[in-house]
Each structure stands twice: as C-alpha cells, then as structure tokens.
Symmetry: C2
Subunit: 199 residues, 2 copies
C-alpha cells in the first residue's frame, strides 16, 4: 500500500510528466513484445524487466502485478477506417486490406490473439475490443442494424481465422500467399457477411 499514490492510474492525460515516463514506456513496449511472442504464461516479468533494462520490482511498483501489466499493455486500437466515404461495394476489400496492414504493422494483435486463447482476461479484452471497435463500423454499413452483431461476429471469424493461419500458426500456403491474392479471396466473403441479405 506504500506506493499507492504512485502506482495508480497513469492514464490521466492532465498529469504532470514524471521523470520515470521513459521507464514506464520501456516496460510497456517490452511487455507487448513478450506477450506477443510467448503468450501470457511464458512471458515472465523477469524477462520483460530484462528487456526494458530495469529491475523486476519496478514492474510491480508501476503496474501492481502481472495482470495489471497485461491490462496496460493490451490497450488496443484496431484503427478501423471510416467506411462512410468508401463505396458500399468496396467495404469488404477495404476492411480486409486494413486488417492485413494492421496485423503486419506491429505484433500487438498477434499478442492479443496469443493471450486471448489461453487466458480468460485476455479473451474478455478481445471481446470488448471487437464489440466496441468493429461493432459500430459494421452497424454503419449493414442493411438492418438489428443483425449487426451477428454480421460482425462472422466478419471477425474470417479475419481472425486468417490471422491465425497466416501469422500465428504459419500454415505454409496461408503464410506465403501474396497479399493481393489473399484480398481477392477474402474480400467477397467479408462483403457478403456485411451486406448480403440473410441466407
């Protein structure tokens, strides 16, 4: 309880910059990489601290415990683009392209997937992220907002499935297929899930 005032939410944007901000950022970056590469259990606090070049006890002081660190490290923005501007017939292709980009931009999404599969807190985090960020976008382009959640789930299943096969499991054909070919195959699927009438 001693360091409570220090350890509590650093998310306050109006907070004065602290001298330790660089360390905090280094910890977070190292944590993201380790969680992405190893999953929750095998990503040890000691390894993360070593990567960040500091003592493991600092991680505890700044983030409370391992779960707190994970929570802080897994604040994810899918950065889904506005779909209002793109022609309704192309939203599938735009979405697939975006997710391929997003997945290759950094290893945050791979980490989310690795942790979400073996850790209930990670799974809950994924549900929140997709509900909050993909849900509204789907609701904006599908015919009847009432079945937007179902359509979003279908879209998520295909997007996540491809990411799983290509970036995590590394199925040879999925991992080596060209980006354009992949888009050509997946875009119609996503398009149909988004806009086709209920089968």
């Amino acid at each position: 309880m001693k360091h409570e005032a220090v350890a509590d939410t650093p998310a306050d944007p109006a907070h004065a910059p602290r001298r330790s901000d660089a360390t905090r950022a280094a910890i977070l970056e190292a944590a993201r990489e380790r969680f992405a590469a190893d999953g929750y259990e095998r990503a040890t606090i000691r390894a993360i601290a070593r990567d960040a070049g500091i003592d493991p006890s600092m991680v505890m002081r700044y983030y409370g415990n391992k779960e707190g660190l994970f929570t802080a490290a897994s604040e994810i923005d899918l950065r889904i683009p506005r779909l209002g501007a793109v022609p309704a017939r192309h939203v599938g292709a735009v979405l697939v392209t975006h997710f391929l980009d997003r997945w290759e931009a950094d290893d945050v999404l791979t980490g989310m997937l690795r942790v979400g599969v073996t850790n209930e807190a990670g799974a809950e985090r994924m549900r929140e992220i997709f509900k909050a960020q993909l849900g509204p976008v789907v609701a904006g382009v599908c015919p009847d907002p009432a079945d937007a959640p179902r359509r979003a789930a279908l879209v998520a299943s295909q997007i996540l499935g491809m990411a799983l096969a290509r970036y995590v499991l590394r199925f040879p054909p999925a991992a080596t297929m060209s980006r354009d070919e992949l888009i050509a195959w997946l875009a119609p699927t996503i398009q149909r899930y988004l806009t086709a009438k209920q089968p």
Copy 2:
C-alpha cells in the same frame, strides 16, 4: 535409462496388453482434458496425474516428459467424411456441418487450438494434421489440384476462425448463433473457396 524398455513406443498394435494399460489411458484422457482447458503451460503434470488418480512420476515413466505426453495426447483424427459421394454443390455445407459436429463432440480440437497458438510443437502438429487430413479432401473436390493447398488454407482459415470465435473466445453472437444459421452463412464461403474459379 532404467525403464527404457517400458517407456518406449506403446503404439505397437501387436503388443501384448500390459497390466498398466488402464493407467496409461487414464493419464491420456486427463491430459487431453487439461491441455484443452488450460493450454500447454498451465496444464501441469501434477494436475493431470491428480485427475488420473496416480502419482506424477508415473506420467514421466510412461511418457518420458511433458512434451512426450503432449505428443501422445494430441494424435488427432478430424474424421473428415468422404466427399466423393456428396453432390459437388453441397460439399461446403457438408464440411461446415461436419466440423461443427466434430468440434462439439469432444474438447480435443479446442485443446489443439489452445496449444497450437502458444506452443511451437503444437503449431507444427496442427500444420501436419490439416495438411494430411484436409489437404487430400480438398484436392479431391477442387478443379485444379495445383492450387489445392491454397484452397485448403482458405477453408482452414474460415473453419478455425469460427471455432476460435465460437468455442474458445466465446464472442457472444458467434457462440449463441444457432447451428443452422451458422451453416447457412458459412457454407457458401467454404463452397466458394473449394470450387469457385480463382478470383
């Protein structure tokens, strides 16, 4: 090295039945459940042994080490049906239906997914299984055998993505959607991946 003669491959079908076969089976069953529920790291040998009602050291004697146990516990048969008999236009629906059945029959596939995502040996195992069991079936129904691997990867991505969303991550809409509705949505996707001309 002492028990080498006992610990070596029990897969030999012409082997005399041993008194310990019941114990071996109990260990394997407990291991499958634990791996499925907890993933590789959190499924401890001690917990598996407790479930099987024996001492942890027995696991070591019969399966060498944890990885050997996993190898033995993850011999998986997808039980994909012969598609030669079904009309070419229905293979998508048949395949989706089968995989939903197979996934709900036991928790072996969920375990495979949980372990494959965080463990390289598990990933390799998944690649083998899908290549050996899904590959030939796809090659049998798709127009040009040359691009069968790509089509199989696409099929796998959608199948695994749905299993991930529905059975592992438990996305609310994906987990609660009715089986028939799910088939109606997914079957055309699989059908297209299998038989449509290259886009």
